[in-house]
Symmetry: C2
């Protein structure tokens, strides 16, 4: 949660001059997202979020992300709509950095999702998968299955430092995925970061999802596996099967899974846990001691990995 | 700019249960204020700022600050109105820390104030001084003139480290103030932190002022001196007499200065520059190297001090 780029009133005025959104009435940096700087903007025409993209988002990926958000909005999916300037451009520049204006979305994210929240979130994810169908642009999932060996390569010492013996356990995870990673499952656009803080609820119902800056082409069921890791574990690391069943039940309200997808869910969730463990371990290692913004604890995902390694009774029997 | 305290949806719901403000519709941490954590809250009833007071605000001072804000609101001064819960309390607790809910204020602060902004800001400050008249509570200005010797005491080495020879120059400032600090000027409640980021404009007119967490009893003209330091210097450290004259002109639209106040302004502004220099030097020294949130540069105020030491042609001839 941070604001890395400071915008002056004059820079804001110059930025807004390209748009038909009226004059600024209020403008505040908001602590949302760890990758970008976000500002809440109110103008005489409405409310918006202004995002300045910091170095962790590759600028060559931004047309894909903004194009996807426009596509989803046109298909009626509740996500932040990018606002085009008078020339039709959504990708702009502010302080020499890429920036975009999107419509403000009401809604509250939840910290500790209930079973009912999981059901709603599952439905919202299926809706996203369907709404993204036909989106013509393509983006390889740069943090997908094929990337993990390469990321782990430079992190074996860090894994050992975190927990002695861990690097050989992860080696075995990777060997398992190399042998058994599912193929030929339905593919499409995945959110790839469908965590509770990226989903808004309104009166307990799914309201919207945000933060499409990891979206890519991948197996749709992999997105479910990653989401179940994020929504259906307790703070103590235990797996909540009831929440996972509700997530799936909600998902299948809109898009029933194939038999092959259902069978693949345990290994897909196991792999997704490794993906988040590896990037968190990398961030953890790269952050200097004493920094005020602490990265997320990689051990949270190591505990989830351990649960997946044991196997989950009832996990294959979902729904 | 930071959010130090993280509030979950459940904690927010429990907090709001004491108030008649409806249900939360949106809730975001905002990067406003360096002393406290602030959140923008939208409910079915309206928009609010929720402030969680962090350790730098003494909790025993909070009834004074919140009482003053209520007083100002009742007198029609545009500042954030504290919202009372059903029992009439404005000072609440959240996550074991003091917290308060205040009404949201529209408006934009300016980074580089124009002459017109300074005139409006000056009028807003006089309005504040008048609106606070009669407020029955009292708070000594703990960072006022009487405190500077004690603060400097532990910072002589830090001053030398910042700039060799600086500690004896400041010693001479303090000696000057000990001999010549004005007495018997009109006193009242001062804002004491009336910086551009604490003043909101709407369509170029004074809209509101916020952040009363340094407010105290002191000489009213001292508040003008501190504000002129904040509003009327260029980025290169030079003094902008036109802006200062406009600030005073705006101020006197509402509250004409006495002859004694006008004559005292140069030394009051000089002293106010020392106050901000000392606290910034203290924060600078206390912050570990490599911290992501950098404190404000004390040298900005050392440059202003140097300007005051030279004297300001035309400064006594204001308005």
């Amino acid at each position: 949660m941070a604001v890395y780029t400071d915008i002056t009133d004059q820079e804001l005025e110059a930025f807004l001059a390209d748009f038909d959104v009226g004059r600024a009435v209020a403008f505040k940096g908001i602590a949302e997202g760890v990758e970008n700087s976000n500002f809440m903007l109110e103008t005489s025409a409405g409310r918006y979020i202004l995002t300045v993209y910091e170095r962790r988002v590759r600028s060559e990926d931004l047309p894909f992300f903004l194009g996807l958000m426009q596509w989803l909005a046109m298909r009626g999916y509740p996500s932040a709509t990018p606002i085009a300037d008078r020339s039709g451009a959504t990708l702009k520049t502010l302080r020499g950095k890429p920036a975009a204006l999107v419509a403000f979305l009401p809604g509250l994210s939840v910290r500790r999702p209930t079973v009912a929240h999981c059901r709603e979130a599952g439905e919202g994810l299926a809706w996203l998968h369907q709404a993204a169908e036909g989106f013509p642009d393509h983006r390889v999932n740069s943090l997908g299955h094929a990337a993990w060996e390469g990321i782990f390569c430079s992190l074996t010492d860090a894994a050992e430092a975190l927990k002695p013996g861990l690097s050989s356990v992860i080696r075995r995870d990777l060997d398992l995925f190399a042998r058994c990673w599912p193929r030929d499952l339905p593919e499409g656009i995945v959110h790839a970061d469908y965590f509770p803080d990226n989903v808004f609820f309104i009166d307990g119902r799914f309201g919207a999802s945000i933060d499409f800056y990891f979206a890519a082409w991948d197996q749709l069921a992999y997105d479910i596996g990653a989401a179940v890791n994020a929504w259906c574990f307790e703070a103590d690391g235990s797996f909540n099967l009831t929440r996972a069943q509700a997530f799936l039940e909600g998902y299948e309200r809109r898009r029933p899974l194939t038999k092959e997808e259902r069978a693949a869910l345990p290994i897909l969730a196991h792999g997704a846990a490794l993906r988040f463990f590896l990037t968190r371990l990398n961030d953890w290692t790269a952050t200097p001691a004493g920094a005020l913004v602490r990265p997320k604890d990689p051990l949270e995902y190591e505990r989830k990995l351990a649960v997946h390694r044991e196997g989950l009774p009832g996990f294959g029997a979902w729904s």
